[in-house]
């Protein structure tokens, strides 16, 4: 082990992700499962969790919501990057005819899953939703990986107007999906969980919680039921 627990690398490319976010492609090579995350360290500032959009090379999609995510928008090719991970439990790759349901920045881990499942020859169906067109993330990556891609926005500025769960319900009602994978706000995950029960399809979802250690010791990330999002999750069975 090196003196520091972080892997160092550099930013190779920065692409816009929606109107406000960025996709950061680095030269760091990890071997991870979709759904796993890294703790991204900004020296002398902070360290925060981010899902992997790809592991090799490490790719992140970052939406600005505060100081750290704001600073990450300024990254340029050549800038150093420090990450600890991959951490946590990722998605299974058990879906033969998977349905992916992504809401808002939940698009990040599911983009990784979509490409992994597609590479394994699975026919991937994706329901990708956001509040507006400008908040849709990683659309090109989904277009590349998905056999069928359904886009929804709450204001109708792109794709179908409405909620991504409504599309998911329609797709489940039509049959043909054998596993649901979801990531997004908790109310969305709860509705997806209810749909999984209703249609008798197994589901997995990636959760977020406030994290410090990322390794299951500090107790910051209790999901509310004593399960640790950083170590028992972030992916849980629905």
């Amino acid at each position: 082990m090196a003196p520091s627990p972080h892997r160092a690398g550099r930013v190779v490319r920065v692409e816009p992700a929606g109107h406000r976010g960025v996709t950061i492609v680095s030269d760091i090579r990890l071997s991870a499962r979709p759904g796993q995350f890294v703790m991204l360290w900004v020296p002398r500032a902070d360290e925060k969790p981010f899902s992997l959009v790809a592991d090799n090379p490490l790719t992140l999609a970052v939406v600005p919501v505060g100081p750290v995510t704001g600073r990450l928008q300024q990254l340029q090719p050549g800038d150093p990057l420090y990450v600890r991970g991959p951490l946590g439990r990722g998605f299974s790759l058990d879906g033969q005819r998977p349905l992916l349901v992504a809401g808002g920045s939940g698009a990040a881990p599911l983009a990784f899953l979509a490409s992994r499942l597609a590479a394994a020859g699975r026919e991937v169906t994706v329901a990708l939703g956001a509040r507006s067109a400008g908040e849709l993330l990683l659309v090109e990556r989904y277009q590349a990986a998905a056999a069928r891609l359904w886009i929804t926005t709450e204001d109708g500025s792109a794709g179908e107007r409405g909620l991504v769960v409504s599309v998911a319900e329609r797709l489940l009602a039509n049959g043909g999906c054998d596993r649901v994978y979801a990531c997004g706000p908790v109310p969305m995950l709860e509705r997806v969980a209810a749909l999984c029960r209703e249609y008798g399809v197994p589901g997995e979802a990636s959760y977020e919680a406030y994290m410090r250690c990322g390794i299951g010791v500090c107790g910051s990330c209790d999901r509310g039921d004593g399960l640790l999002v950083c170590r028992d999750g972030p992916v849980f069975d629905l």
């Binding site: 082990m1 002398r44 500032a45 360290e47 420090y82 410090r212 299951g216 010791v217 107790g219 039921d225």
Partner: protein, 311 residues
């Protein structure tokens, strides 16, 4: 084969196993404390709490390194009033399991320890643990009370005056003479000691970023690297005082726990091992300690206590 019992008695309270969840590790919520209790703890300690809430240090606050962990969480806690609700909820959940609850307290000045305990009394914890030994807030609060027998005794006395429940005082290894501190707090009314809190402080530097990695720059060491220091502290303390000791610091396996017990510990604290071995660590340690006791012909844990001191 003889059946072996793992239960021990601490200040008249029965623990199903000798394993105590160490303060600051996973003790933030009632659900987590219950989960650890269900997975083999003899007692669980809630996160150290102060009168007012504290945000703690910025991240990184806890990092793994090859010898264990280094941390400067900075005593983040929701404050005593919020802790009352967490402790009360935890007590309800633990009652059917027969697992006692230890409330850990700290304060900025010696007298303040009494104030936290008076607030927490409403939650009726089974024990108090007085954290006079956190090395991670020195910049803000100065040297820990545990650095000085007189200050350590004042903090202890403040808690003693505020409660009739058993009081455990948690000591620091970062002193010239831990026995002098141990004797001072026992004279001031401590019913038991816990040793050790984290070692150091230490520092990790990222040589590519060219800066200390912890946001606080320095933090306390725990895990396997500190175990020999912890064993020595417990060994020395058990000769210096007559009260029971919760031995902790790097205990990761059942055989490590036996080492601590043979050094003189009555119960054994486990913290960082949850990182190495996960939520099943205490169950695994119970199986390991049982196997050792069967191999060596011990029937109960107390038969092993202090054996390293010879006849």
């Amino acid at each position: 084969m003889r059946d072996v019992g793992l239960s021990v008695e601490l200040c008249g309270v029965r623990l199903r196993t000798p394993f105590v969840l160490a303060a600051g590790v996973l003790g933030t919520t009632a659900a987590l404390l219950e989960r650890v209790a269900r997975r083999g703890a003899g007692a669980v300690t809630a996160k150290s709490c102060s009168v007012r809430p504290r945000r703690g240090h910025p991240n990184p606050t806890v990092l793994p390194w090859e010898g264990g962990l280094i941390n400067a969480v900075g005593l983040a806690n929701p404050g005593a009033a919020a802790m009352v609700a967490i402790l009360a909820d935890t007590r309800r959940r633990l009652a059917p399991l027969g697992v006692p609850l230890i409330a850990s307290v700290f304060a900025e000045e010696a007298g303040g320890f009494g104030e936290v305990v008076r607030i927490l009394e409403e939650a009726e914890p089974d024990f108090y643990e007085v954290n006079i030994s956190c090395p991670n807030v020195a910049e803000e609060l100065g040297l820990p009370f545990a650095a000085d027998p007189v200050q350590a005794a004042r903090a202890t006395a403040a808690v003693r005056a505020a409660t009739r429940r058993p009081v455990i005082v948690k000591l620091s290894p970062n002193v010239a003479d831990i026995c002098a501190v141990g004797r001072a707090v026992v004279d001031a009314g401590a019913d038991a000691l816990a040793a050790i809190n984290t070692l150091g402080p230490g520092m990790l530097i990222d040589i590519r970023a060219r800066t200390p990695v912890l946001a606080n720059r320095v933090g306390g060491l725990s895990g396997p690297a500190v175990r020999p220091v912890a064993v020595r502290c417990v060994y020395d303390l058990s000769r210096a005082v007559a009260v029971p000791i919760i031995g902790m610091g790097g205990v990761t396996t059942g055989e490590d726990a036996v080492e601590m017990i043979m050094a003189g510990a009555t119960a054994v604290g486990v913290g960082s091992a949850f990182y190495q071995r996960g939520m099943g660590v205490l169950e695994a340690m119970a199986a390991e300690i049982r196997a050792f006791m069967q191999e060596q012909g011990f029937g109960c844990v107390s038969e092993m206590r202090g054996l390293a001191h010879g006849a």
